[in-house]
Symmetry: C2
Subunit: 199 residues, 2 copies
């Protein structure tokens, strides 16, 4: 993919995080990316096509976070040996007030909300969701090797859905970030205790 295309998509994520999908104007995107409006229509079919590609970018970024986290190159302090700590760290990664995290979370929430009214966006969304649930289920499985697969998946679905709910509340100003993080940590503990109780 060309550099320009990527630059436009990065800019799209930035603008979406700033204005929302609803507030995304092709003109503002053009300014943000430093290109003309026409170039955007040249590279992407139309507004919806642009959104779909942006969703794919946001997905890839999120996967990259997890991958980076699992990478051997990271300092030991940032990748704990305890599988539960790793899981906690991976989930709390999305609840941080850092520009790129906020941008990703906001864009993800926006695009998911848009999918309610735009079925074209659903495929990409469902795929990302499945991958995300699977990753969390795998990490839970490392912590609780004896738990049945179905219970791991169910717990992972609850944890990821909770994360999205907490993230939405944080970003919309309903819930302070520290509370969201605390609730998430507690939830991991509660779910793991539940899985342990199944033995």
């Amino acid at each position: 993919m060309s550099d320009r295309r990527t630059a436009i998509l990065e800019a799209a994520a930035t603008v979406i995080a700033r204005r929302g999908v609803r507030g995304l104007r092709v003109e503002e995107l053009a300014e943000e990316a430093g290109v003309s409006k026409a170039l955007i229509y040249y590279h992407f079919e139309d507004r919806t096509g642009l959104l779909r590609r942006t969703l794919a970018l946001v997905n890839n970024r999120a996967e990259r976070y997890t991958a980076e986290q699992a990478a051997a190159g990271q300092p030991a302090a940032e990748t704990p040996a305890d599988p539960l700590r790793r899981l906690e760290q991976a989930l709390l990664l999305e609840l941080q007030d850092l520009p790129h995290v906020r941008e990703n979370s906001t864009a993800w929430g926006e695009l998911r909300a848009s999918a309610v009214f735009d079925p074209e966006l659903r495929g990409e969304l469902a795929l990302a969701s499945v991958i995300w649930v699977r990753e969390v289920a795998d990490q839970l499985g490392e912590a609780r090797p004896t738990a049945p697969e179905s219970a791991l998946t169910a717990s992972a679905e609850r944890l990821t859905a909770l994360l999205e709910g907490l993230s939405a509340r944080w970003l919309s100003g309903i819930l302070p970030l520290t509370d969201a993080r605390t609730r998430m940590r507690e939830a991991i503990g509660v779910e793991v205790a539940h899985l342990a109780g199944l033995d």
Copy 2:
């Protein structure tokens, strides 16, 4: 409040559920409500003012569900004596494929998402959230009278945030409704077991 004002707001919730906040056109709303565009601008300051009022309406409706449920007039089969069953029923009420439930959930999700970019909507939203959490915490307290207040509130925050996360996934087509309902039921069980374990 005049009948016309209310009729317009009811129509606004319907149109938002159908098209989203971004898809809400004053003209379509006028048709839905059976009034002229100008009348909408007469009754509400502008588009944002209209949205804020609609959010208030959706809040009130949601409270009414819970109130109806708690009302003595309901058939016994619909208001179980067991506090846990009542809680389960109250939470699952939001995960039903009925037109008015879908409308309320969709409108609520849309307006919450809008609040990320429109701080004017946040006050109403935060208030509704606090009330909702408090109600769930109270019902948990009935089931687990010995659990500390702070633990009840934390559980209630997790359950309501999870409900919103599951609802968002359902409405955006990521998660089948039956799965969402199952995850919600399980979560209640897991949280109650957690509260019991604190004794």
